[in-house]
């Protein structure tokens, strides 16, 4: 199923700002949730990675809020920015999380999210009728492309781990 099927309708600039804002906020929540999971499962390195990612997305969200000026983008986002099928594009896939995951895995998740966001805004550039929407979407595409590059740069620091990354010699622990 397409990650962005059933996306909200973007008819004007305000709609676009709201959707963009929501995408960033959803990403923040998701990274924080993953950081919490890693905290519970004692993967301290990944806690930091996910918190950093959450913080970065939060900054993006704030930028959009600033861009919106007097317009209440938060309220509007709550009204219109609902992805009917699938999830918000930039949200990291929860099902791919693993308690032993490495920064490389986290960055892969992040990369996939950024690429989905990029594709989403590109689709708006292509389909939007309103020139202002087109222009703003193009700006957002540029920004997401920059994020994609950033993740790629980060990935140079974290090479792909060996195949045994998920090996745990301790068996799972029965509970209840």
């Amino acid at each position: 199923m397409s990650k962005t099927a059933g996306s909200p309708k973007v008819a004007n600039l305000n709609d676009l700002l709201a959707v963009a804002y929501q995408i960033e906020t959803d990403a923040v929540d998701r990274y924080n949730l993953l950081a919490d999971q890693m905290e519970t499962h004692n993967n301290a390195e990944l806690v930091k990675v996910f918190r950093d990612l959450a913080r970065a997305e939060g900054i993006h969200g704030e930028e959009i809020r600033r861009l919106s000026g007097d317009f209440d983008v938060v309220a509007h986002a709550r009204q219109i920015a609902k992805f009917e099928r699938g999830e918000s594009p930039e949200e990291a896939e929860l099902g791919s999380a693993h308690y032993l995951m490495t920064p490389w895995h986290a960055l892969q998740l992040s990369l996939a999210g950024e690429e989905r966001a990029l594709a989403y805004f590109k689709s708006i550039v292509e389909t939007a009728k309103d020139q202002k929407v087109k222009d703003m979407a193009a700006e957002l595409v540029e920004e997401e492309a920059e994020h994609v590059n950033l993740v790629h740069r980060l990935l140079r620091r974290y090479p792909q781990p060996s195949e045994s990354w998920a090996e745990d010699l301790d068996p799972p622990v029965p509970q209840e």
Partner: protein, 278 residues
């Protein structure tokens, strides 16, 4: 369901507690929790008017992760506990959470009778086709050939079909969801909670630890091609013949929910003694 207060727009975060789940990263139940909080927010219910009741198992940990009232009871009996609660407190919104072991195995009998009784509540079963809390034993929905330590070579026993059982037993609303689609699941939960009587929502929720193969579910699930039917016969045929990955509301019944009149009366208790007077 309790009266919805539409004046206050509520956020999903209001329904989340500060307790961090112990579920494995990658577990579908995280998504289900998300669906719960989103559904509650959409309904605009005050958290204190909701009670989430559960039994034992991974899925049954969910009540404490919400900011609602909760009851994490014994294995398999959540529906009975919820029945006693709801008939005496019809003002509350009661959501029961269970898993395929808790709900279909040890709690199987209560499932039948809860469907039959048709008390206004929503029953959510997070089905991962395995016992997770006890390290991967086969559940009633595990495939016959699935190999486990407890069933070397597979159980060779036909899995249970919860939706058919629910329909045959009288459930008034039947839906199937996939945890990986929390918005769709939340939308179904909203409908389930609003629907009068006993609503049954089966959520396919993969177990990353003991059933990594279930990661493939996200590519197998698909929305039901047709809308919900009110005809149990039609629903039976649909549910019996679908591929098990058909998502959405599959049946909406119109049976009256069971709710006896309760509340203080003016009768003097000495009235009751009259039977015994000599």
């Amino acid at each position: 369901m309790s009266t919805v207060d539409t004046r206050i727009a509520r956020k999903p975060a209001e329904y989340k507690s500060d307790i961090k789940p112990i579920w494995c990263p990658g577990c579908g139940d995280y998504h289900v929790l998300m669906s719960f909080t989103r559904a509650f927010a959409q309904l605009g219910l005050p958290p204190e008017q909701i009670v989430v009741v559960s039994g034992i198992g991974c899925s049954s940990r969910i009540p404490a992760y919400t900011n609602c009232y909760g009851f994490h009871g014994v294995h398999g009996r959540s529906l009975a506990l919820a029945a006693g609660l709801k008939v005496t407190r019809p003002d509350l919104t009661v959501v029961v959470a269970s898993g395929d072991g808790d709900g279909y195995s040890i709690g199987g009998n209560h499932f039948l009778h809860a469907c039959r009784r048709n008390i206004d509540m929503t029953y959510v079963v997070m089905d991962n086709h395995i016992y997770g809390m006890t390290k991967g034993q086969p559940s009633p929905t595990t495939e016959p050939e699935f190999d486990t330590a407890l069933s070397p070579g597979g159980t060779r026993v036909r899995p249970f079909h919860p939706l058919v059982v629910a329909l045959a037993s009288g459930a008034n609303f039947i839906a199937r969801c996939f945890s990986g689609e929390p918005n769709e699941t939340a939308a179904v939960l909203v409908e389930a909670i609003k629907h009068p009587g006993f609503s049954f929502v089966e959520i396919l929720s993969p177990c990353v630890t003991f059933r990594p193969d279930e990661k493939a579910w996200k590519d197998l699930v698909h929305p039901a091609p047709v809308t919900a039917t009110t005809d149990p016969g039609k629903a039976a045929r649909r549910i019996m013949t679908d591929d098990g990955f058909n998502l959405g509301i599959l049946y909406r019944g119109n049976r009256e929910p069971f709710q006896p009149a309760v509340g203080a009366t003016n009768i003097d208790l000495s009235e009751l003694e009259k039977d015994f007077e000599l």
